[in-house]
Subunit: 278 residues, 2 copies
Amino acid sequence: MRVIKNINDWKDAAFFWPRPYGLVPTMGCLHDGHLTLIKKGRLDNATLIASVFVNPTQFGSTEDFKIYPQDIEADLCKLDDQGVDIVFMPCVQEMYPAGFDTYVDVGQIASRLEGQYRPEHFRGVATIVSKLFSIFQPTRAYFGQKDFQQSLVIKHVSKDLNLNVDVVVVSTARESDGLAFSSRNSYLKKDERVAATVLYKALTGAIKLYESGLLDVASIRNEITRTIESEPLAMIDYVSISDAQTLVELKQIDRQAVAAVAVRFGETRLLDNVYFDY
Amino acid sequence: MRVIKNINDWKDAAFFWPRPYGLVPTMGCLHDGHLTLIKKGRLDNATLIASVFVNPTQFGSTEDFKIYPQDIEADLCKLDDQGVDIVFMPCVQEMYPAGFDTYVDVGQIASRLEGQYRPEHFRGVATIVSKLFSIFQPTRAYFGQKDFQQSLVIKHVSKDLNLNVDVVVVSTARESDGLAFSSRNSYLKKDERVAATVLYKALTGAIKLYESGLLDVASIRNEITRTIESEPLAMIDYVSISDAQTLVELKQIDRQAVAAVAVRFGETRLLDNVYFDY
């Protein structure tokens, strides 16, 4: 496994690595969710590249950039175990040198849900992912369904800016009690960690209602909200049921849809979602 | 010479064309300014690509998009004469399909001068150029010095988004009376065309003052303004003397600087500029 810190080192090395390239962009602190992306990427591509970079531009000024968990040594072990070929691990100066002043802005799709709570977040995501796509020119890039709005934003960027990368979305990996893997789970206090299982419980409950024939979004949304609110440590930011392509809120589940929640447990804000297969 | 209308046709053909690629992005209606770019691009590269696309996103709603001059037949003759290999001539739908919603935003450098008068202009330029750079992945791309702020914006985009294109700026081509070639010159009425020679007269006058030892920007700027205002048909938008890298206005010419003017003649708005070699 080759660890690359500088973009120019990749430019020198790229010639030797066989195509197709797969890219798994991460912020490190790798968990089983990341590993499912890497396993899939390993199967699909001749050369697998993983990036580890805590991207400052996707954090708001009051968010957790400075305390975002990092564990480089463990990450390198895990990546090596999975047969990753290239680890790209740049410093902030390498990605955002002095004078950096260009951002990729995605419109409607980025303005909904998370966009309401984290107004600059997707601009930062779109910018760093554009940069990584241009540097590595992968055939495929892998993202987790847990951040499904992020994957939609990145699909838009890849298509609209002709980056020609196939954005592959991989099902959310979960702990045995259903909690979606997230680097931010490490922030949870013991009682918050227990409480956080309510998210998957509420979302699987919604799927059951849908599968039993309920299509009325207000009823399903109320049921999700009621379940989450039964947990006193949970503070809801949003419970959304929307068109899975456009994120426009629905009244009836009359197309492929997604139920998405953002809920705070103490200082920790967690996301989860499930699809309604139509 | 191969004319390509669709991006996918290029993807199929790219394999056969030898590198390095040079790209000359144009909006068509080619004049001697474009031809100097193409001649230089032809000398530097194994494969020369010219694009002809009137880019709607770089025009304001009150601007001249709908009447922008076009002459495809003459353009193709000129490009063929110059030995261009590939002409990319997409329709608007090909570059901006339904659902397009991603823009490249450049900060400070785009906010000055033209940015004050055409607030969305450089966003449109940065977006279309990013797209063209990603589609063709040229080694070099060629732009005219007449639109020197545009070339600075594009240099920023290429560097900040890691597009890895060498942005080559070619000296302004001029008519025998000094007027910079521009597709918009065709809008000028006869008396306006005569009056427009005042721009180069004012700018060369400024160079002479500088070469005679005058470094005080206010004095030089006043002289440019006075000369242009001596022409009754000329309406000044700005007369700027700024740092040639940052476009920050100067008080003294104490570094590489540029004098730039934007002046309206009737309905036609013209740009011109000269460098002060420091």
